[in-house]
């Protein structure tokens, strides 16, 4: 696909020592189109963040990666994604409180990114850094560039993290739950910022979140992950409005909503499978209301029209139950 900016092809990640090797992720395949915002949703441990870290080559020591992660820059040849960190791919993290170096002025951090990408001199990079801080909506950027991280609020810090990511002039932004640690009003400001960047700079975004409302608002396309695999993918409106996979349905039903009349909160019974003992068949089968004996024996693959794919053997029964 040549209007993709990132191709993930049959990616799996294994972790742990040789004696206790587990494969918490994969195989997973996905594409991020140029200018597209793709959401990756699922509960904790489903492999969302691991996918991003694999793309950045920032997995913990001892992790091994199978499959391809390829970055396709606008100009030039495609390269393995991890070689493009800071050179086309940038990342924004979940925890703005710890993502910044406590002994570095925030302007210096942003300037370091500028210098890395452009080879600019110190003074010019500092000026550029102030402009970037301004661009991400930090008031008094000139003065704020001299601040230490501990002098800033969580929202401002997350803006600094964004500015540091933008300093490397990326085409693809990987966001690892960037709004989870922030309160709702600040969350909204950061989302507006990402929307603006996408609009003004034509950034492609791969956005990891467990917050369905955030994903619905921001993303063009959504991939739902469960136990290290993609179980459903399609346009955000379709997947979240007309979910085809029992897990997606359960996830949506479990999300409290202000719009709905208050009722008892619906959880999903059971626990996600342990990566040390993945079921042979469908990984959601043990928790699934639609499961039949075949589900525990056969691993379903993503099927259906390219625009809305579902990995479920009982997809017709699920659709009928609506």
């Amino acid at each position: 696909m040549n209007n993709s900016v990132l191709s993930v092809d049959q990616l799996s990640v294994s972790l742990g020592s040789a004696a206790a090797r587990v494969r918490p992720l994969g195989p997973v395949s996905l594409e991020v189109g140029r200018g597209e915002v793709v959401g990756l949703v699922g509960e904790s441990g489903s492999g969302k963040s691991l996918t991003l870290r694999a793309a950045m080559g920032l997995l913990p020591a001892g992790a091994s990666v199978d499959g391809g992660l390829t970055f396709h820059p606008k100009a030039g040849a495609s390269v393995p994604a991890h070689t493009a960190r800071g050179r086309g791919i940038a990342m924004v993290f979940q925890e703005p409180m710890t993502a910044l170096n406590p002994t570095m002025r925030v302007g210096d951090l942003v300037a370091a990114g500028v210098r890395q990408r452009t080879g600019m001199g110190r003074a010019a990079a500092q000026r550029q850094a102030v402009e970037l801080l301004d661009a991400v909506g930090i008031p008094h950027p000139q003065r704020r560039a001299r601040s230490w991280p501990h002098e800033l609020s969580g929202g401002l810090r997350q803006r600094v993290v964004m500015a540091a990511a933008l300093a490397t002039d990326p085409e693809l932004l990987l966001c690892d739950e960037p709004t989870t640690a922030l309160d709702v009003t600040v969350q909204d400001q950061i989302l507006q910022l990402i929307e603006g960047l996408r609009r003004d700079l034509g950034l492609s975004v791969l956005f990891v979140s467990h917050d369905l409302a955030v994903v619905a608002r921001l993303c063009d396309r959504v991939l739902v992950m469960y136990a290290g695999q993609v179980v459903e993918s399609g346009p955000a409106a379709t997947v979240l409005g007309n979910p085809g996979h029992p897990y997606t349905r359960a996830l949506l039903a479990a999300a409290p909503s202000l719009g709905r009349p208050a009722g008892p909160l619906v959880g999903i019974g059971g626990q996600p499978p342990d990566a040390r003992a993945m079921p042979a068949g469908c990984r959601f089968a043990p928790r699934c209301a639609f499961a039949e004996p075949t589900c525990s024996a056969t691993l379903p693959i993503l099927e259906g029209p390219p625009l809305h794919q579902i990995a479920c053997l009982r997809v017709d029964a699920v659709a009928g139950a609506r």
Binding site: M56, R85, G86, F93, A99, T103, A165
Partner: protein, 314 residues
């Protein structure tokens, strides 16, 4: 800026600390049995002679006024007078101070210059060849007494090559430097294992922190990541370790100066103790105390300069 306030407050605490050191050192002489006047005049002197010297020295005055007089002398750089050596203590200590200052300065520098790369190397490749070698060497170095290390260096380096003198301090700066290298190395070998262990642990901790991941995700060169993101955050505990080991270093200096026949403070202290030269002992003790206070202060200032959060934490 909070950090300047921190340093100012730290300085303000230092003043009473120094006064306490002076008081303790003063009391050494005041409570030690034996009459300094008797030491001067000798056993056969008459009672009248003794009384005259006691009055001359002010020994009949109340302790408080003796203390004030001692303090007043100190403020003018007067550490008292050694009747044994027939010299002002300031002069005795002053002649020996540069030797020990060289030893400690070059020793600490060598220790840092050697320990930092070893710590980085062993933290980056945990359980690698270097890491194992450093651990074994560290254990060995901790168990080897410094006088033995000194003798080994003299026998295996100084004597066969002739590059370094086997003892003495020389007269010119170049000679000082040449004669201080081996003693300083001996001193460094004793501290390097402590520094490496502390710094390695801090580096490992910082390497796992989120802001290092941020730096890597920005594609910053690994040298920059190590220097500005890892070392700067990992160095504070090691600076504390270095300053807390000053006592060990001073003690090590006494032994090492003896091994290498260096005319420094350590040797002077031994000489003064052997001849029961109380005013000189008092001078050395005061110097040691002031040095410890000064180094702790310096360490705190360096840490404050490295970490902008110091004021908040304190």
């Amino acid at each position: 800026m909070g950090r300047f306030k921190f340093v100012a407050r730290r300085l303000a605490v230092t003043v009473p600390l120094l006064l306490a050191v002076v008081l303790l050192v003063f009391l050494i002489l005041a409570v030690t049995p034996g009459d300094p006047a008797r030491q001067i005049v000798g056993l056969r002197a008459s009672a009248a002679e003794l009384a005259r010297v006691r009055a001359e020295l002010g020994l009949d005055d109340p302790l408080a006024s003796q203390y004030l007089r001692y303090l007043g002398g100190l403020l003018q750089g007067d550490l008292g007078f050694s009747y044994k050596a027939r010299q002002p203590v300031t002069q005795i200590v002053g002649e020996r101070l540069p030797v020990t200052a060289w030893l400690l300065g070059v020793g600490a520098t060598l220790a840092v210059v050697i320990a930092v790369p070893l710590a980085i190397g062993s933290a980056l490749k945990q359980r690698g060849r270097l890491d194992r070698a450093v651990q074994v060497f560290g254990l060995l170095a901790l168990t080897m007494p410094s006088f033995w290390v000194g003798i080994v260096l003299i026998r295996t380096v100084a004597m066969p090559t002739g590059w370094f003198p086997v003892g003495g301090f020389g007269d010119t700066t170049a000679e000082h430097l040449r004669s201080i290298i081996l003693p300083a190395l001996t001193l460094a070998i004793g501290v390097i294992p402590l520094l490496v262990r502390s710094l390695r642990a801090s580096i490992l901790e910082v390497l796992g922190s989120d802001h290092v991941t941020t730096a890597r995700a920005m594609g910053l060169p690994s040298r920059t990541v190590m220097r500005r993101f890892v070392l700067r955050n990992a160095s504070a505990p090691t600076i504390s370790v270095l300053s807390l080991n000053l006592g060990y270093l001073l003690f090590g200096a006494v032994v090492i100066e003896a091994t290498f026949a260096l005319p420094g403070i350590g040797q002077g202290l031994v000489l003064a103790a052997r001849s029961r030269d109380l005013p000189a002992i008092q001078g050395y003790a005061l110097l040691f105390g002031v040095a410890v206070v000064a180094v702790y202060l310096l360490a705190d200032i360096v840490i404050a300069a490295l970490d902008p959060r110091v004021e908040i934490d304190s």
